[in-house]
Each structure stands twice: as structure tokens, then as C-alpha cells.
């Protein structure tokens, strides 16, 4: 294509602009605006984002994001993989994140793999809590499973910032 372009010195047909916006818009600063899934929205399928995602609606599928906030009205049915996740709503599925914060309004049914974790008093939590090693950036984790038995209700509530399992 490039070799031809030198010879043919005629204006290109209208196909050229197709690739232009891709390079222009494909890498917008992902940190600028978070994606907000409002409460009237329902997503069936997997969601993948390089930036921040705030969920207030219903998601049936896996969520893969850098930073994730699950609002009080939200319900995620599927696995969550993120760098950091704050859960205030309902989650049915596995949660894998380096930093996990579970607020008092949360209802989590599923195992939580974390590096650091805090559970606020009042949160509903059904599943195992396992400390895992995280490479980076919400990627795959190596579960050491040392805290498997530490699950359950009655998590120590010394404040929302108290990590249950330290490093």
C-alpha cells in the first residue's frame, strides 16, 4: 500500500478516513471519565474496560476492569476481575482483585480472591476468602488459598479499613 502510494499520485478514494478515527480515538485517556452503568441499564455479556467502571445497574456476565465500583442498587451476576473493587451492591460470582472493599450494604455470594481486603460491618458475605498473589493490573492470580477457612459471616469489624488478612 505504501509503495503504491508514491506512484499513484491521485487522491485516495473515500475509504481512507475509515482508519483515521481509529487511530485518533482508539486510545483516549482511559482514566479521564469513568464508565457509568446507571440503574436502568442491563448488560448481558462480558464487560471489559481499561479504565474505571461504576456499575449501578444489572450485569449478567463477567466484568474485567482496572477499577470497579459496584453501587448499592447494582447486581453483578458473574465473575469480577479488577485491580481494585468496591462493592456496595450485590455480587453473585467470584471476585478477584488486589484491593477489595466490601461496604456494609453489600451482598456477596461467591469466593473472594484478594491481596488486601476490608469488609464493613453489616455486609453479607457468603463464600470463601482467599488471599492470592497478584502479578499486576488485575491479571491472573496465583491463589495461595491460605485464608479459605477465614470466610463467613462475623468478619471482624474494627472499621472499614481494617484488612482482615494482612500481608
Amino acid at each position: 500500500m505504501f509503495a503504491k502510494a508514491e506512484k499513484l499520485d491521485q487522491p485516495k478514494p473515500k475509504e481512507t478516513p475509515v482508519s483515521q478515527p481509529v487511530t485518533k480515538f482508539a486510545a483516549p485517556n482511559p482514566n479521564s471519565t469513568p464508565s457509568i452503568i446507571s440503574s436502568d441499564l442491563k448488560i448481558v455479556g462480558d464487560v471489559e474496560s481499561a479504565g474505571d467502571v461504576q456499575i449501578n445497574g444489572l450485569i449478567e456476565g463477567d466484568v474485567h476492569s482496572r477499577s470497579l465500583t459496584i453501587g448499592e442498587e447494582a447486581h453483578v451476576k458473574g465473575a469480577i476481575v479488577a485491580d481494585e473493587v468496591t462493592i456496595s451492591g450485590a455480587v453473585t460470582g467470584q471476585v478477584k482483585a488486589a484491593n477489595v472493599t466490601i461496604a456494609k450494604t453489600a451482598k456477596v455470594v461467591g469466593d473472594v480472591f484478594h491481596k488486601s481486603l476490608s469488609i464493613e460491618a453489616g455486609a453479607t458475605m457468603e463464600g470463601r476468602l482467599s488471599q492470592a498473589e497478584f502479578d499486576k493490573a488485575g491479571g491472573k492470580s496465583t491463589v495461595t488459598d491460605l485464608g479459605a477457612a477465614r470466610a463467613g459471616f462475623g468478619a471482624p469489624n474494627k472499621g472499614s479499613d481494617t484488612p482482615i488478612a494482612g500481608d
Binding site: 473515500k14 478516513p17 475509515v18 478515527p21 481509529v22 485518533k24 480515538f25 482508539a26 486510545a27 483516549p28 482511559p30 482514566n31 479521564s32 471519565t33 469513568p34 464508565s35 457509568i36 452503568i37 446507571s38 440503574s39 436502568d40 441499564l41 442491563k42 448488560i43 448481558v44 455479556g45 462480558d46 464487560v47 471489559e48 474496560s49 481499561a50 479504565g51 474505571d52 467502571v53 445497574g57 456476565g61
Partner: protein, 126 residues
């Protein structure tokens, strides 16, 4: 701001703040039922909502089915809506199925724009 243009469909009661799909978001599935969905950044997927706005500078690849669609960014894929507005910054590659199409000067469109709705849109009219 963008939606201030004459919308025939008044938002239902209790309408909330719109959903934003921003950053580098990829949806491997369908987004359903939002009253208003705004797209910023680069988004891939399929959207089925009442009103969809692709903001200027945004990049969307996939299918849009909505009652009203306003496009100021780049869209690759079929668009199906009763009312479609292409802003001057719009660039659409794909068919636009519509009942009413408004194209502002400067908008680019590559593809067909048949004056009829895609069968998909029937379920939206209810």
C-alpha cells in the same frame, strides 16, 4: 446539551442520569434498556436503548438499536433508530435504518441509509 434538540420522546418519569460508556470499554454482549446511553471514549459492543448519544470524539464499533440516536463521533456498524441525527463531526460507516434522518453539514456517512426501520426496531416502539 446535545439532547436539547427536539426530541419527540419525552423521557419517562423518574428518568435518571444517563449511563456513560467511556474509557476503553468492550462489551461482549448487549446493553439493554437504558433510557439514555452516552458513549465516550472507545466502546465496542451492542447497544439497545431508548436514546443513544455518541459524543464527539467517541469511537464506537458495533450495533446500535434505539428510538433516537445522535452521533457526533465515529461509529462503525449498523444503526437502527426512528430518529437519527448526524452532527457535523459524525462519521458513520455502516447502514442507517431510520424513519427520520437529520444530517448536519460535514457529517460523513459511508453506507446505505434506507428509509425504513430494521425489523429489530419493532420491539422498541412498545
Amino acid at each position: 446539551m446535545l439532547m436539547s434538540a427536539n426530541r419527540q420522546v419525552s423521557p419517562p418519569e423518574g428518568a435518571e442520569s444517563p449511563s456513560f460508556l467511556a474509557g476503553d470499554l468492550r462489551i461482549d454482549g448487549t446493553v439493554f434498556g437504558g433510557r439514555e446511553v452516552r458513549i465516550r471514549g472507545a466502546v465496542e459492543g451492542r447497544i439497545d436503548a431508548e436514546s443513544v448519544v455518541v459524543e464527539e470524539g467517541a469511537w464506537f464499533r458495533g450495533e446500535i438499536v434505539a428510538d433516537s440516536v445522535r452521533i457526533g463521533g465515529f461509529v462503525e456498524g449498523p444503526v437502527t433508530a426512528n430518529e437519527v441525527i448526524l452532527d457535523s463531526t459524525a462519521h458513520v460507516v455502516g447502514s442507517i435504518f431510520h424513519n427520520r434522518l437529520t444530517t448536519h453539514p460535514g457529517a460523513m456517512h459511508e453506507g446505505r441509509k434506507p428509509w425504513r426501520l430494521h425489523p429489530l426496531a419493532e420491539r422498541l416502539t412498545g
